[in-house]
Amino acid sequence: MAFKRVPQKFTASVNEVTIGTGDKAIVLGGENVMPLYSFDAPITNRVKIGVEITDSGYDKTVPGIAAFYAGAETIGEIAKRASEMPGGDFVVLTLEGADPNGANKPIDECVAIAKEVADAIDVPLAIQGCKNIEKDAEMFNKLAEALQGKNILLISARTEDYKQIAAGAVMAYGQKISAESAVDINLAKQLNVLISQMGVAADSYVMNVGSAAAGYGFEYVASTLDRVRGAALSQNDAMLQMPIVTPVADDAWAVKESVVSEEDFPEWGPRENRGVQMEVSTAAACLAGGSNAVILRHPASVKTISELIADLT
């Protein structure tokens, strides 16, 4: 008997969330098939890639990154360069210098940096905080106000600060937010419920259900992604239908493989290659699990993943 292929498409679909404005705006989500299963039904909005820079610029210790940004001095110039990285769709500014346990840059200074970045680019902008709850909550609301009309994505709102961020950034200033949970599917759903109960519309938030570098507990991330997308599509669970945006670079460039020098581990080869491999393998695994966007740093990773996406959709 001939094999009869039955397309596995669902009546439920992932929500569509738009970031940015005008021609370069991007739409995340919208698919009604399993991740990258474009053979079951067309995937209208292909997976997107965010190119990460920080408030202090870029990582000058990685030759490929340093070469890409060479000559760009101001944060605006660096942002412009990031926005032109082949394969990238949006720029992600990580305000790590805001951290009270680090450089502790004042909020006004961070807002000025973000404005310079936003003014320098014509692609959508996402901003990551410094992971300090108090500072982020206040800073996100100031950023949302200063960048009103830019339709930025603020990463991220957690159980501890979602109320202030949702009320300010989304409801007062019309920006988008990401709901973050740490590889806990029940908490991921609960946080979405709480944000939705505040009156935030389904097209105004995405989620980050947690991540880890490949090899560092990624199997938990993989099963979380699988279960989130399974519930969203096969159970039509409206509280898990938000697009998923996964910051990959942060984890991928922080693990031992990406950090130790070639002098200390000559048999491992150049550090840069290892970092790119960690970034690429983690990002590819996230896409297979259902991430609608990944955040990367290295031009070689962005190129590889963008080609993977193009080939699969």
């Binding site: 419920v193 669970d237 509280m239 898990l240």
Partner: protein, 261 residues
């Protein structure tokens, strides 16, 4: 598995308020009951217009359009002995939120309602009975097979036949309860969808007892694989039980606020 489907039973012409509203084509009482049930968690709404021999066609069209226009094309279960009225209701029905349900066919006089469902790409509630109450599960299964064959021969998908085991009143037929539950298990083992008039079980019991018997019955029936019930969604205890059973069965993912969803 998908979540348990509650078909809200409260738009029923046995209620004096609804009967009057249907006679006078007064939208307000009907919309009020519909909203209460949807807010409480009903997926489908049953629209029972009674036998409605003379006015059924017009009345069902009016009710279908009224409810779907006001509640985002809410899926409906068309409940009347008047076949023409069901056809008329389906003719104006918007299926964007789910197929219409024909309530109901049986293996006896009402078997042609399966033909009606097949001809209109609708779901049919298929009561596993012919005349009176089946004496045992062998008899129920025989009727189930008769209706299944008829539906399949007319091109229906098996999943569009929602078999009704016929819930029986505890007060009077206490000894039959486990038979009904066992039959639900048999239906589930064969992969069939099922539904039924849950509140039959608590008929004639004191008012404060009904939610307890209905909830316990639905929990036991869901364990055995019941996929839907025609029930009162405004019964908070019943809905809490159904939502909890959906969590335990894995039909819905747990979150602390699951009862509010």
């Amino acid at each position: 598995m998908g979540r348990f489907i509650v078909i809200g039973e409260r738009i029923h012409c046995i209620s004096p308020v609804i009967k009057k509203a249907m006679e006078e084509k007064d939208p307000e009482p009907i919309l009020k009951r519909a909203k209460e049930q949807l807010d409480a968690g009903a997926t489908y709404l049953d629209v029972n217009i009674g036998p409605a021999e003379k006015t059924g066609v017009e009345l069902m069209k009016w009710a279908v359009q009224l409810l779907q226009e006001n509640f985002d094309n809410v899926p409906l279960c068309l409940d009347t002995a008047n076949r023409k009225a069901i056809e008329a209701g389906i003719s104006v029905y918007n299926r964007s939120k789910g197929k219409p349900i024909v309530n109901s066919a049986d293996a006896g006089d009402r078997i042609e309602n399966i033909d009606l469902a097949a001809a209109n790409d609708a779901i049919a509630i298929a009561l596993c009975a012919k005349a009176g109450i089946p004496s045992d599960n062998d008899e129920r299964m025989m009727y189930c097979q008769e209706m299944l064959e008829r539906g399949m021969s007319l091109g229906m998908e098996a999943e569009d036949l929602w078999f009704d085991p016929l819930f029986l009143v505890i007060k009077g037929m206490q000894d039959k309860q486990m038979d009904v539950l066992e039959f639900i298990k048999q239906l589930s083992d064969m992969g069939f969808n099922s539904t039924g008039g849950l509140s039959n079980v608590s008929n004639m019991t004191p008012k404060h007892i009904r939610p307890i018997l209905d909830s316990t019955t639905v929990a036991m029936a869901m364990y055995n694989g019941l996929t839907s019930a025609i029930a009162n969604p405004c019964d908070a205890r019943l809905m809490e039980t159904i939502k909890s059973a959906d969590i335990i069965k894995g039909n819905s993912l747990y979150a602390d606020s699951f009862l509010e969803l």
